[in-house]
Symmetry: C2
Subunit: 314 residues, 2 copies
Amino acid sequence: MDVIAKENLTGVLLALVSSGFIGASFIIKKKGLKKAAATSGVRAGYSWVKFDNLRVFDCGLLDPVIVGEVANFVAYAFAPAVLVTPLGALSIIVSAILAHFLLNEKLHAQGVVGCVMCIAGSVVVVIHAPEEHPINSVLQLWNMATQPGFLFYVASVIVLVFILVFLYAPQYGNSNVLVFTGICSLMGSLSVMSVKALGTALKLTFEGKNQLLYSETWFFTFVVAICVITQMNYLNKALDTFNTAIVSPIYYVMFTSLTILASVIMFKDWADQNAGNVISEICGFIVVLSGTILLHTTKDFERSSSFKGSHIVL
Amino acid sequence: MDVIAKENLTGVLLALVSSGFIGASFIIKKKGLKKAAATSGVRAGYSWVKFDNLRVFDCGLLDPVIVGEVANFVAYAFAPAVLVTPLGALSIIVSAILAHFLLNEKLHAQGVVGCVMCIAGSVVVVIHAPEEHPINSVLQLWNMATQPGFLFYVASVIVLVFILVFLYAPQYGNSNVLVFTGICSLMGSLSVMSVKALGTALKLTFEGKNQLLYSETWFFTFVVAICVITQMNYLNKALDTFNTAIVSPIYYVMFTSLTILASVIMFKDWADQNAGNVISEICGFIVVLSGTILLHTTKDFERSSSFKGSHIVL
């Protein structure tokens, strides 16, 4: 309990469960696709395919992607975003390791280095993460979201997204990978902040403090819907236009960095931490990013766009 | 001053200076060799070659390797070995970056990731390193070196070295890279401990507390000589028998791990640290190791054995 702040423990466990499910879902899906291709003789499309050995997952509600995303959503209600977001990288490790054993996709030496790196970086991030501040009402979150610094961040994001969508996307969208991924990452940072607000409001409601009476809760719900729809729309455009192996690491780096920036501004995560903790956390984050890039460049992740989309929205 | 313990600051700076000189020496030497090969028409051997542009270094005492090794030696007198040893990896970054700009050896994307990793890992190691304990006499070091735990470590090392030298080296020395590198690494961990004792004794002597009167100081000097000679002898055998690109990362990992183990036993570095600090430091160390492996496997370091020998002895 000394190493991980007690307040963050639930969030860390949920984030790990989430990565486990999302990582495993990729393998299950791919095994199903392979089997379908083998039996039908043609390559199956990117639809969900029944897979006998794991029939327990094979109904809508137990789809591991959905379980993983729900766990991830709940994790944001229990721990700071600067902690939950980088841990998303662990799903890549889970899928790389499972692919090695179940799909016979050999993990190369550099892939192993990438895995070790993601784990070591995540441990550093977890140890030095700030403690989750106790929140008693959605109005507290509303105050945080309407402070001048965060409003400035939101305004900048909206202006940049408009510029990218209306000026750059028509001309450079199909030639420069940064246009679509930039839109997703900018919107993604707002998605996570509003998901965290909504998740916390629901958590409080389940604890008996009904937050659904406040219009602020419904506003956050509206923002979640807008942001997630925009983000998934442009993520699918990016994945339709460019190779997943190029899109994924660029998107992961931009999305995670912007989310941490947004969280630091909105929740003042680093305000009561000493310099050593903040620097260690940034270094841990850089290590996780580097490990992710390494895994993506050494391993050919043939991910379906639908999987990808759901995986990295949060 | 908050981030780095004040007691360690001198040691950290010396270790950085050391890595800078040792990393640069490789480039200077290689440029000299290239030039000599260009003018004489034949490839120059692995001897030190005059290099006009950097004539300032071109006399025995200012040889950058020697400056670097002296700085490294002194660093051990000012900071814990668990801090100084991992920072040695930064010399690889210096030479990789200088080679990129001065020798036009393109640093690949994965090489850049390796560099970033070594830096991030080193920062984590430096922030969480234990403080150097104040030592007033070589007799204190003698007591540390003769405590049962450390004597057991020394005895184990000697037994293993004897087994490797007399049983394994004749039969498997030329076929298994772990035999020669194992001998070097085991002896290397004792080299560093005795170098640290000798350096501290000399530091105290310069401060006016003459330690040369104690036979213990001379005993440590004797141990330094024995260990360094054995280590260099088997390191050269390893480099003569196997490719540098294979020997270097294996040797770096084993040598650094054993040195940290020896230091933790002898100096009880981790005794007054909390679990978070110890785990962070181990993670930082793993990240530096991974970065080093990555740099070595992606970049072909054509190092001369004489350079290599002097570089990684400490």
